[in-house]
Amino acid sequence: MFLSSNPQLNKHGELHHLLSIEGLPAAILWQILDTAQSFVGVTQREVKKVPLLRGKAIFNLFFEPSTRTRTTFEIAAKRLSADVINLAVNVSSQSKGESVLDTVANLAAMQADMFIVRHGQSGAPYLIARHVGEDIHVINAGDGRHAHPTQGLLDVFTIRHYKKDFRSLRVAIVGDILHSRVARSQIHALTTLGVPELRVIGPKTLLPSNVDNLGVHVYHDMAKGLKDVDVVMMLRLQNERMQGSFLPSPQEFFKFYGLTADKLALAKPDAIVLHPGPMNRGVEIDSDVADGSQSVILPQVTFGIAIRMAVMSILAGN
């Protein structure tokens, strides 16, 4: 039951839920990227709406607080003409002791067509996807440390926008890989799309064991890791990791792993800098770099809407 088949795909091998990038064939990733490309035009028109999801009910089901991701999903759904219902479950039913599956069953009974799920526990969207009816689609909007597939997709979309061909790129992901669902999704997206050299850079306390099994090269020294890379992907350092047993202080982290103009100069001159936001300026990234000419952090946000529109419309069509 749990090993037999990829729960994301229907029996025709099409995307039914988007739970993780791992295990998706490259063709599906290309389909999402190409569809998103067609939506970039829509988001730049004066009337930013298409009727693809008219009459569909999309539930933003956030068991963990989030403003940015929830908002971009909401905008994407509205641009597709869907009805969007926002639920911050962490402050309602969960505090009354209702289980995740009960919450979902109740919402499904309200004729939901799609759930956008964020949860603090890795794998929670899988649990939900296993228990919803066949006609309901689930999109993982971030689960624990496991995956944040739409973030991974918007990152590769951004990279494609600036760099065209994945097969000649050297990419570095920097920071707290251990706790990062974004990093895992980025790694799977980039390796699936054929990036030949993918590096992760961080202190040993913030790198998971066997991370090299994911197809990455491990660096602890920022200077070596950034040498000649085409793309620098910074990760957000969660406040609770900044001091304690993972790191002594945010200052020391910044000294060794913060992205400054000096360090960025080691990368290729035309290297781009990504960050999933929200940024900790002066902890993982210097303001000069965040606001500098190589930063593509704001375009990431714009493309994020197109990516989420693409994913929703593809799921609804399958």
């Binding site: 995740v100 949860h119 929670a124 649990l127 624990g144 496991h146 064991s209 994911l214």
Partner: protein, 424 residues
């Protein structure tokens, strides 16, 4: 009641017997093997043609969930499950609510279990009051009440000084101490083996060193105190190596592994199967292979079910929030047979690990078929395949990663003290 078990293939691992022989029972005891005693007239004859007749199974870890967790399972349901699994003697860990830290609780459990007339229940007493790791329990009183050993179950024991004193005190009276080696700090927050699956799935990890660091402390303190130690539920190749070495040096240690760790690995977590959220975590395939080899060469003394029925509500949760444990007492025999067959071991050796060997660990007179012994017997069909299905399990817990597995070896009849307690 006189019962004659005829035409069966009798396997008694303790004596090395594996032959077609009849068993004659009277007044709860085996009175003869092979030929009937003079003047023997059976009240009942059980035809065991094509079946194996072996000692009733001895399971070193069966949670009966009473007192305190009756919503998960009851004594009745789990004793039924044990009988259906061919188990005639079982040890139950002290992790009840309240824990088995007072003689009254132990006496009540023994009394209630005895009234069911099924498997013999051997309670393991709590090593510290409330399993809180601060005060020693009244071990001598608990022994009088029926405890056969003392353990800390899966509760953290962080105070090494207290552990030293507990072992010294237990050694004074030669009480065995059962410990599951896990360093609480190193395991903190973790839900899966620190390996490639946890890395991929983003699950908080429990490293192998959580086991080996605790194990080295226990082994050093065992040498220091001379306490008799049984190590429960080993999970790693490194841990096994340490025990092998300790045994080689003559330390009084024994150990067991659970059926899950003998057959599954981290890979079986698949897409977050909460049934694979187990304590200790399922480790790598290399670890599993080392456990299986150690069970074959005798480094590991016994295979147990680590039976832990959990209600559905506590399992239908995201992996990291799901209650750990799996139901297993009904799967002990087929999974032992599967391991033995895959390891190309004789049936008798496979059965030893779930009969005479765990009986020796428990220090009880069970797990053998000899004239004069209590007639605790398991009769099973070694060739019969069956599919593990939730609704067919007697246990109230339906949670097991083996659901859907096709296993071989079906219990036909279980006898405790000459009484048929299960047959199908």
């Amino acid at each position: 009641m006189k019962i004659h078990i005829k035409n069966g293939r009798l396997i008694d691992p303790a004596s090395g017997t594996d032959a077609q022989q009849d068993v004659f029972i009277a007044a709860g005891k085996i009175v003869a093997i092979g030929a009937p005693p003079q003047g023997y007239n059976a009240n009942r004859t059980l035809d065991a043609s094509g079946l194996v007749v072996c000692p009733g199974l001895v399971d070193l870890a069966v949670r009966l969930r009473e007192p305190g967790f009756e919503y998960m399972a009851t004594l009745e349901s789990e004793m039924d499950a044990a009988a259906a699994g061919g188990v005639t003697s079982l040890a139950c860990p002290p992790d009840t609510d309240p824990p088995l830290d007072e003689p009254g609780l132990v006496e009540m459990l023994k009394f209630r279990a005895k009234n069911l007339n099924q498997a013999r229940v051997y309670p393991i007493g709590a090593l510290t009051v409330g399993l809180k790791g601060t005060h020693l329990t009244e071990m001598a009183e608990l022994t009088d009440a029926g405890c056969v050993a003392f353990s800390h179950a899966d509760a953290p024991l962080t105070d090494t000084q207290l552990l030293l004193r507990a072992l010294q005190y237990a050694a004074t009276f030669d009480f065995p101490v059962w410990l599951r080696p896990q360093d609480a700090g190193l395991a903190r927050g973790g839900v899966a083996h620190d390996g490639q699956v946890a890395t991929r799935l983003g699950l908080a990890a429990i490293p192998v060193c959580a086991e080996t660091v605790a194990l080295s402390a226990i082994l050093l303190l065992a040498r220091e105190t001379g306490a008799r130690i049984h190590l429960c539920r080993l999970s790693s190749a490194e841990g096994i190596d340490m025990v092998r070495q300790a045994k080689h040096l003559g330390l009084k240690v024994s150990c067991d592994i659970a059926i899950h760790h003998a057959h599954l690995s981290e890979m079986d977590i698949g897409y977050f199967d909460p049934n694979c959220n187990l304590t200790p975590p399922l480790r790598s395939q290399r670890d599993r292979d080392a456990l299986r080899a150690a069970l074959a060469d005798g480094t590991v003394d016994a295979l147990c079910s680590d039976h832990a029925p959990v209600d559905d509500d506590a399992k239908q949760l995201p992996f990291g929030e799901a209650e750990t444990g799996a139901t297993g007492v009904e799967l002990l025999l087929p999974l032992a047979l599967k391991w033995a067959e895959e390891s190309r071991l004789p049936l008798a050796q496979g059965l030893a690990r779930i009969t005479s060997d765990p009986a020796r660990v428990l220090g009880i007179n069970a797990g053998r078929l000899t004239p004069g012994a209590s007639a605790d017997i398991c009769i099973f069909d070694p060739e019969r395949y069956w599919k593990v299905e939730a609704k067919a399990l007697k246990s109230q817990g339906k949670n097991t990663p083996f659901i859907g597995f096709e296993v071989k070896g079906k219990i036909r009849c279980t006898l405790v003290e000459g009484q048929v307690v299960y047959e199908c």
